[in-house]
């Protein structure tokens, strides 16, 4: 029996091609998704191993809620690497899921640690954000998504980095570049270029090039002189002498990384040595790496389920195509099976001949799929490499991945083949073939079940919406029932949303067969009137196999639903953003830093002095501001604004109070989210804690005195030397020493006093009244105050400009002004001047980028759906051989046959797309509604796009009908008629 099955498999191989493709696609998605996840996680591990390679880290002991992450994204090498990898692969989920942050610790601890036994080197790596490297071509170097990292590097501070050429940077005008950065920028050792520091561009010389053990996923790494990096880091954080962590390299393993046990011993030893009250803790490098890896992997986690959804679609269609294919094969071989039965084969044996074929098919398909999945990941990696994001993670599937793929493939094939195989097994020994398709079981039970599920989903969505509403406005109850309210509040919006979506999707799939009849009548109206006969025949054919039609359409439905849901959300997001600009933003231009950091003060000046500029309003961010007192401090992004903000730049959407008056009057204007989180109301008074960095006069005086003394003693020593040489008769030598001493004295005169200025951080506590609460979505999570108040809390060292709003003088030609503005900021490289339209489009283009990926996935699911339609039609054509023969015998032309099948296929496609668009749009509307308070203020349904989906689906149908039509027409009319 098995031999018969194998032989049949070989004979039917041509038939199996489509099934194999479908299974292969499905399996490839499964394998690919696993592979991709493993590749990413091995990449993350590799990067962490080389980037946070210290054996022990000393870090703060108190966890902190920190809202600054989005601005100073990377302040130490370990968190830098994790944020770089996460933002490079998923800019959408950048910093929200990052590793926890801890309180900063005093850098002087490094001296304490250095004395601990077993410590080889102690390194404090400062990193500076917002640095831009200018390449050989004079343009800023950037790669897709990955940031530019500037680290203070010297010998021994980073074990995994090895100098390939040259040396480390020593001054502000020198840099060492990572080999990838050098390559991307087209720079080599000895070249001179520009580097844009947070406070402006400077000419720098490339003095060295270094390599790291793993690729850096496209991050541009610039090695600065440690002292320079430290300066900027302190400016950025507004804290002096504080670092995020201290890396320790142990000596126990002869310079090689320590084992986990050695790390633990060293960490314990350091932990003991740390002074009490230092709020510091020593942890092993392994633990830090594991934590970061977990955080990063969590941030990347959304990719795999997304790929898996499409794998499920592919496999669903695949099992379907297989069922169809086997139905055809079984139908055609029925006589053979009848013969087998009549010579004594048992039903089980006949069953096995079919199942053997299925297994062969499943194995071949899965095998191809594994290869395809592997190729897919390879392709992605190659693509990322081309986009400037080299990956060195392992891309080859592990045996377990392959096994999963194989099992999934074979399992799906068996499911698909089971029913037809049963039909074959049940073949009576003398088969009376009946051409007429057996009437289907009624579909109304499915209709009822489907409607109920959809209703359940809709209720879940409604519930979710009420929860969101209640969350946004405390006065609105979720429902009239108390118990439900409590439950709903604790549940949050995520679950009901997901459950609702799941129920609706499954409900629609269940309901679909019942929809085919009415949908056929409605959708068929046009074709039935345009192409009278063919249209009517096509429409009626659809209702013949309602389940089959519905399942075929379902493949398209799921893909289209996902994509249209996301396009509604995306388009609403865009509309909301442009809505802000249109309704709120009154300034003509905005300027911000492309590096997502500060705008250099010189650039601000340049813009202000540009001819034609009327007024410039700048937003300055205050660093490290907390509210309240004691241990219960709250943080919020705090900005200093011009008093004219609400009249000249943004119209406020006031919740309570008078925003304009409050700002002008030195009161706080609080975003509604912040107000709600802290329970603040207009009229409350809160303590604002800030920092000011001031010159520490005592320390400065001391430093100067010390310096003076040092110079003096040096001169004295030189003079003493000179006298000694003079005494020894070496006049020339003595003269040289005297000159040297003079020189030293002169040098001391010329020394830049600022290098001797010592600063200290002052904590400030200012009481302020909350004057207004506003709802503008951009300000929701911010606290605004005017410059005067901000000046009491922070000073220039702890505030920096992140955005400028420029108003032109009356009657100024905006286009010309824009050109002048762009020219004015050109030397600063990072500053981007945008007019209102551009401001809108930068926001939208981010959304568009995400959409592109979605469309790629849509394209894939369409390809799979086309396979499904082709296959279903092929089966239908094979079942209707005689009918088609008859139609042709009575004068149906080839064109009419083709047209009929095309209409049939198009209607299946349109049905799937239409339901998909409806469900997807509904889901999108619900999501928008639920996240209204998170910025999705406007609903925008991209009708054009959704319409395009529908038009596309017609084309898809027409294309899908081609192969079955060719097959139907290949059969001579006579054969078709004579088939029995």
């Amino acid at each position: 029996m098995i031999r018969i099955g194998l032989r049949d498999a070989r004979a039917h191989f041509g038939r199996f091609v489509m099934s194999i493709i479908a299974i292969a696609l499905g399996v490839s998605f499964v394998v690919g998704s696993f592979c991709f996840r493993e590749m990413m996680s091995s990449q993350v591990d590799q990067m962490l191993a080389s980037n946070s390679d210290a054996d022990v880290y000393v870090r703060g002991s108190e966890e902190q809620k920190n809202d600054e992450t989005s601005l100073d994204m990377s302040s130490s090498s370990s968190s830098a690497s994790s944020s770089s990898s996460s933002s490079s692969s998923s800019s959408s989920s950048s910093s929200s899921d990052e590793s926890k942050s801890y309180n900063r610790i005093d850098e002087s601890l490094a001296d304490v640690i250095a004395k601990v036994q077993g410590v080889k080197t102690v390194s404090v790596t400062y990193s500076v954000s917002g640095i831009v490297l200018v390449g050989k071509d004079g343009n800023a170097v950037s790669t897709t998504g990955a940031p530019t990292l500037a680290l203070g590097l010297a010998k021994g501070t980073w074990r995994a980095a090895t100098l390939a050429e040259g040396r480390w940077a020593k001054t502000k005008n020198e840099v060492a570049l990572h080999s990838f950065a050098a390559e991307t920028a087209g720079l080599k050792v000895g070249d001179t270029t520009k580097l844009v520091y947070p406070d402006g561009a400077a000419d720098v010389k490339v003095v060295g090039i270094f390599d790291t053990d793993s690729s850096q996923a496209g991050a541009i790494i610039v090695g600065l002189a440690p002292s320079v990096a430290k300066d900027y880091f302190q400016q950025e954080t507004g804290q002096i002498g504080m670092v995020r962590n201290i890396g320790v390299y142990g000596s126990a393993n002869d310079g090689k990384p320590l084992t986990a046990a050695q790390q633990r011993t060293l960490a314990d030893r350091i932990g003991k040595a740390l002074p009490a009250g230092s709020k510091a803790r020593a942890v092993t490098g392994q633990q830090v790496r594991d934590d970061s890896a977990a955080a990063t992997k969590k941030a990347l986690g959304f990719i795999q389920p997304l790929i898996l959804i499409f794998a499920i679609i592919a496999l669903f269609v695949g099992s379907f195509i297989i069922a169809n294919t086997f139905s055809m094969i079984v139908r055609e071989s029925m006589r053979g099976y009848a013969l087998l039965r009549s010579v004594g084969a048992s039903p089980a044996q006949v069953f096995s001949t079919v199942i053997v074929q299925a297994i062969v098919l499943g194995l071949v398909g899965s095998g191809c799929g594994i290869g395809l999945g592997w190729g897919m990941v390879r392709l992605i990696v190659a693509g990322m490499d081309r986009m400037g994001m080299p990956m060195s993670g392992a891309v080859d599937p592990s045996p377990s991945d392959m096994l999963v793929g194989l099992l999934v493939g074979v399992f799906v094939t068996l499911i698909g083949a089971a029913l037809p195989a049963r039909r074959a097994a049940m073949a009576p020994p003398i088969q009376a073939m009946n051409e007429t398709v057996n009437p289907e079981k009624p579909v109304w039970p499915r209709g009822v079940a489907g409607v109920m599920m959809i209703a359940g989903g809709a209720i879940a969505w409604l519930f979710c919406w009420r929860i969101a509403l209640a969350k946004a406005d405390n006065t609105v109850p979720i429902s009239p029932w108390h118990w439900l309210n409590d439950w709903g509040t604790s549940l949050g919006t995520g679950w009901p949303l997901g459950v609702g979506a799941g129920l609706v999707v499954i409900g629609v799939i269940v309901l679909a067969p019942a929809l085919v009849g009415p949908a056929g009548a409605i959708l068929g109206w046009i074709p039935a009137h345009v192409f009278t006969v063919t249209g009517r025949l096509a429409t009626r054919n659809l209702s013949r196999g309602k389940r089959r039609t519905a399942n075929t359409a379902a493949a398209l439905f799921v893909g289209v639903a996902i994509v249209s849901c996301l396009s509604v959300v995306a388009s609403s997001a865009k509309a909301s953003v442009t809505g802000i600009v249109d309704s709120g933003l009154t300034s003509d231009f905005s300027a911000m830093s492309a590096a997502n950091g500060r705008i250099p003060d010189d650039a601000v000046k340049a813009i202000k002095s540009t001819q034609g500029v009327g007024s410039v309003s700048r937003s300055r961010m205050l660093l490290g501001v907390t509210y309240g007192s004691g241990s219960n401090k709250a943080t919020a992004m705090t900005f200093a604004e011009q008093p004219s903000l609400f009249t000249n730049v943004f119209a406020p959407v006031t919740n309570s109070g008078d925003a304009d008056k409050a700002l002008r009057g030195g009161e706080l204007v609080v975003g509604i989210t912040v107000a709600k989180d802290n329970g603040w109301k207009v009229g409350d008074t809160v303590t604002v804690n800030g920092r000011q960095v001031v010159v520490d006069k005592e320390a400065t005086a001391k430093a100067q005195a010390d310096y003076q003394q040092q110079v003096q003693s040096k001169i004295a020593a030189l003079q003493a030397e000179a006298q000694r040489l003079m005494a020894a008769g070496d006049a020339a030598g003595a003269q040289a020493k005297i000159d040297e001493a003079k020189q030293a004295g002169e040098d001391a005169q010329h020394v830049d006093p600022s290098t001797l200025v010592k600063t200290k951080t002052l904590d400030t506590h200012v009481k302020a009244r909350i004057g207004a609460i506003i709802e503008n979505s951009v300000y929701r999570s911010m606290v605004l105050m005017n410059d005067a108040l901000a000046g009491k809390i922070a000073n220039d060292y702890t505030m920096f400009t992140i955005m400028l709003f420029v108003n032109a003088k009356d009657g100024e030609d905006l286009a010309a002004l824009k050109k002048r503005l762009v020219d004015a900021v050109k030397p600063y490289y990072v500053v981007n001047v945008q007019d209102r339209e551009e401001f809108k489009s930068t926001m939208s283009s981010m959304v568009d980028q995400i959409l592109i990926i979605l469309y790629a996935l849509l394209a894939l699911s369409i390809v799979i759906a086309v396979f499904g339609i082709v296959n279903t039609l092929a089966l239908s054509v094979s079942e209707r051989t005689r009918e088609l023969g008859l139609l042709r015998a009575i004068g149906t032309s080839n064109g009419q046959v083709r047209g009929m099948l095309a209409i049939e296929a198009s209607m299946i496609a349109v049905l799937g797309t239409l339901i998909g668009v409806v469900v997807g749009t509904a889901a999108g509307v619900v999501i928008r509604q639920v996240y209204e308070s998170n910025g999705l203020e406007r609903l925008s349904i991209p009708w054009g796009q959704l319409g395009a989906f529908l038009l596309c689906s017609i084309a898809v149908g027409v294309v899908a009908a081609l192969p079955p039509a060719r097959r139907a027409l290949k059969v001579p009319v006579l054969d078709a008629v004579a088939t029995d």
């Binding site: 009278t532 006969v533 009517r536 008859l886 042709r888 009575i890 004068g891 032309s893 006579l974 008629v977």
Partner: protein, 290 residues
């Protein structure tokens, strides 16, 4: 459109519903009546050189307008092949087929489609109707496919003749076998083709239904001058025909004009076993053997 009803052959008129014997007419050749379709030196072989099967062996035959011709013969005699070639369903290996003066054997797909729309009607043994369409839609299908106007009066007439008025809205699955075949006949006649080819139209029917269908076909020949070529096994069915051609091994062995049932049985008696009730007829003499 009215050309067929105009050509009312006298022969058709003289024939009774039963089996009027006109043995003399058998020799009357094709002098009277117009030739609708003709095969010239028609040859059809299947298979390759080594195992060649000759289905038609240089057949020459003419079919007259307004006649019902039955083609009989044992299995494998080539009767179906002859009909298929005549109808343009099959391409002959050699020779020509002319229908209404058009060379069918030289036609391409497009021309063949046009031929089927305008000149030819079909009735098959089974599976004659499109299952998704009602009886009425099935009857009108050829006209609609050809985008020809529907002659309602003619439709009513045909429907009344086949007696299907009450079943028009039924689907084929709701009709009996005889009713289905009557719908098929109505469909074939509806377009008033030059010639209707019927392939064992009563093959699957009980004797009562058979009589109904054959009566209807006969009637259409008599009343409207329809031309019908029918392949059949059944001598009783053949006895409705004006002319019976008997094929054996790809050649026409007999050409009977208005044979009686008994005459037909006689022809097959000598040849043995093909006809179910053959043995009863062995007494009568053979006639018309060439």
């Amino acid at each position: 459109m009215g050309r067929h009803s105009a050509v009312k052959t006298p022969r058709g008129a003289t024939m009774g519903a039963g089996k009027a014997t006109t043995a003399a007419g058998a020799n009357g050749t094709a002098a009277d009546g117009e030739v609708v379709a003709r095969a010239i030196d028609l040859t059809k072989t299947y298979g390759d050189k080594d195992s060649q099967v000759v289905a038609l062996d240089h057949v020459n035959v003419e079919f007259m307008r307004g006649q019902m011709t039955a083609i009989m013969g044992p299995s494998g005699s080539g009767k179906s092949t002859l009909m298929h070639c005549m109808a343009g369903l099959d391409k002959p290996t050699g020779g020509k087929v002319i229908v209404e003066g058009l060379d069918v054997s030289a036609m391409n797909q497009r021309q063949l489609t046009k031929l089927r729309r305008d000149q030819i009607g079909f009735i098959f043994q089974s599976f004659n109707l499109v299952p998704t369409l009602t009886a009425e839609e099935n009857i009108l299908l050829p006209l609609q496919i050809a985008k020809r106007p529907i002659d309602r009066a003619w439709f009513d007439k045909v429907v009344d003749v086949v007696g299907l008025r009450s079943r028009l809205t039924h689907r084929p699955s709701q009709l009996s076998g005889g009713q289905q075949q009557r719908v098929a006949c109505a469909r074939a006649i509806m377009a008033r083709p030059s010639v209707i080819f019927a392939d064992e139209p009563t093959g699957n029917l009980d004797s009562h239904s058979s009589r109904e269908v054959l009566g209807f076909l006969k009637n259409s020949v008599r009343e409207y001058g329809q031309t019908i070529v029918m392949v059949t096994h059944d001598p009783r069915a053949a006895s409705y025909a004006d002319r019976v051609l008997v094929l054996a091994d790809g050649r026409i062995t007999q050409d009977l004009r208005h044979p009686t049932y008994d005459e037909i049985l006689e022809v097959f008696a000598g040849e043995g076993d093909e006809v179910e009730d053959g043995p009863q007829a062995d007494a009568t003499s053979r006639e018309g053997a060439e």
